[in-house]
Symmetry: C2
Subunit: 394 residues, 2 copies
């Protein structure tokens, strides 16, 4: 029996990319407008009771402490409660969960969740990821994001025979999907050969194994399930969610062939939604690197441990495969504007469950879509949200 106390009645995003010409507030406003416009029976902005903003930007642009609470003013809703949610790469996913709990609590009936991030306005040295990498003075020496994930790739190759071609097939698939997503940062197809011959970043990860630095914003509108018919006759519900935390540093990991928090968070989400991995029709997962998607599809239970590379290479996760993964293009092609990423993934799930994903549309015969992010030095936290269009479980 799914949770289904909260419905998603609107969702939207702005075109991801290098958005030097847009301010942080402009990006948020663009996403909000898109979400409002998507509500089937119409939505007036003043109907929003409270907002949650996922962002890490406060860190860099002198906005610490006002990165969340200036958003209401920027979108014409000065006065409403607004709270910043930060939880590393899953910030947007967690803001969705917190917003859903705020609705389910009965305190707020209509909640806006906005994810927004500027990644490109500062150089890499001054940027968000280098700051995040500063951390512990010893454990994090020389640490960059590729450095955090490369050992998982080499170990997976060692234990299971995973190849660079298998890794590359993830990037090829996600670029294929991104080329069909008008909101994706990169909308060009690539080949396995392109990935293999792209510059090495940190063995075995090459440039096209890595997601880009992307600016972007996304927004969703949540309402109390009892009021959903005021807004739409095609409801999508939050079926369940789960979060898990772990030690953030690599030297404390139990294993380099799984992201433990992904497994734990998904188990919690499946239990809450009353479903299992076999019930999921499609998934948006955290593919910050190609190896990450291979780990994800195993740790989420879609494939046996060690089988993720083969499954990717053989098309099991393509638009027409057994379980389509990252139909939006994923972080690899759509981009990874940190606070916005999870909210944008939820938007893709919403479109898929409503049959509105255009060229990317997949079959959703069970009526469940899953969304997943991991982060916090790569594997310190994960969030999984499960959405459904099934009303028989509400």
């Amino acid at each position: 029996m799914s949770w289904n106390k909260v419905a998603v009645v609107g969702a939207g995003l702005i075109k991801m990319g290098e958005l030097f010409e847009q301010s942080y507030e402009q990006m948020a406003a663009g996403a909000f407008d898109a979400a409002v416009a998507s509500v089937d029976k119409g939505f007036e902005p003043h109907q929003v009771d409270a907002a949650f903003v996922a962002t890490q930007r406060g860190t860099l642009w002198g906005q610490e402490g006002i990165g969340g609470n200036t958003i209401p003013t920027a979108i014409g809703l000065a006065g409403i409660p607004c709270t910043r949610i930060e939880n590393a790469c899953p910030s947007g996913s967690d803001a969705f969960r917190v917003g859903a709990m705020a609705v389910a609590s009965g305190v707020h009936d209509v909640v806006l969740v906005i994810g927004v991030e500027k990644m490109r306005d500062k150089s890499s040295e001054e940027g968000l990821l280098s700051r995040a990498a500063a951390g512990h003075p010893i454990f994090t020496r020389g640490e960059t994001a590729p450095v955090l994930f490369a050992p998982f790739a080499t170990r997976h190759m060692h234990e299971f025979g995973t190849t660079r071609e298998m890794l590359a097939s993830v990037a090829v698939k996600n670029h294929y999907n991104g080329a069909r997503d008008p909101y994706a940062h990169f909308q060009n197809e690539i080949t396995v050969d392109d990935v293999l011959k792209s510059p090495s970043v940190c063995h075995p990860l090459h440039l096209l194994d890595c997601c880009p630095q992307t600016d972007g914003a996304a927004a969703v509108l949540l309402v109390n399930a009892e009021r959903v018919r005021e807004f739409t006759d095609k409801p999508v519900y939050a079926a369940g969610f789960g979060v898990a935390t772990d030690h953030p540093y690599l030297h404390e990991k139990d294993s380099f062939t799984e992201i433990k928090v992904t497994r734990m968070a998904s188990q919690r989400a499946y239990a809450m939604a009353g479903v299992g991995p076999g019930d999921i029709d499609c998934a948006e997962v955290h593919d910050c690197f190609t190896i990450t998607e291979i780990l994800d599809i195993e740790d989420l239970g879609f494939f046996d441990k060690g089988d993720g590379g083969r499954a990717s290479l053989e098309g099991d996760t393509s638009l027409t495969g057994r379980i389509p993964v990252n139909t939006s293009g994923g972080l690899l092609a759509k981009g990874h504007p940190i606070g916005a990423t999870g909210v944008a993934q939820i938007t893709e799930c919403w479109w898929q469950l409503r049959g509105e994903a255009g060229e990317r549309q997949v079959e959703t015969r069970n009526g469940y879509a899953l969304q997943h992010n991991a982060g916090g030095r790569g594997s310190g936290v994960a969030v999984v949200n499960i959405l459904t269009n099934r009303t028989d479980t509400s």
Copy 2:
């Protein structure tokens, strides 16, 4: 009829001060231990279902993205969901609200809220407040926290005849109270003359009109009201809460004699709790500067607009006054470790409503205590929480 769906069954803090010898994680662990130890019928750490961490620290110490999610590991609870809540100076207050909604949603029965902040490890120039002050390249030129509040003081003096002695009386009272609070940063009494003769910071605010830079941590344990008797026979409930946002920059303010967000947030909290200002027995309010407390006690409805200075000078807010304010010593004496501040204020309210405030104990004949923070360039956001020991309303 108060909300009363969520009970506070434990609360505690560490001694505030310059805690160079303690890490961020150690401070959080100290506060958690204090909260656990305070539960009447005992509490096992593993009973915590989820945590919310209020902090702004991620900004400075290279912990962006792991400032919240490393806390479970640090306190022996690796694995549990943990989310960072950031909302400027009211971060801790808002984390309490979010934690309460998580419990009321039915998703988590037992929630830990921790506030923690290191303010002293870096110099003022590198520090949190200077970074927060960076902001807009034009509107924030030369802006420091005293600069944000001084215009409110001069205008209040101009319109209502408020005097420097009236401002000083707030600092004198709060230091008197702080001298009776073993957790306060400053535990020494001061005189009006001390305040008047302290160095000028930004006219009319002198050094002793300003709160210090303080390290600290505080924690509270929230449970579903239906389960409160497992933990205590002296329950305290979240009766109601409210949040409001506004433009963050001074040039956009409608008025310099009120903090609008404080008025709006308190009206929402009163409505939710089904009480008015006259029902509040004691209050912890945001006295980052002496003028701020004078504005607060007016904007919260305890005194008429313009009467806050007189009321302070004449002792209406002292431990034996009509409505005791900042019995803990307030930000001025107890300190203002940003993420921890609101959680520490809630702890003081909890002690007062349970009759456990020692020398600082006041009469709580109505059974309601109010807690308030404002922030985000001083007046961009406010949060008000109302607690009650009344069980007849639950």
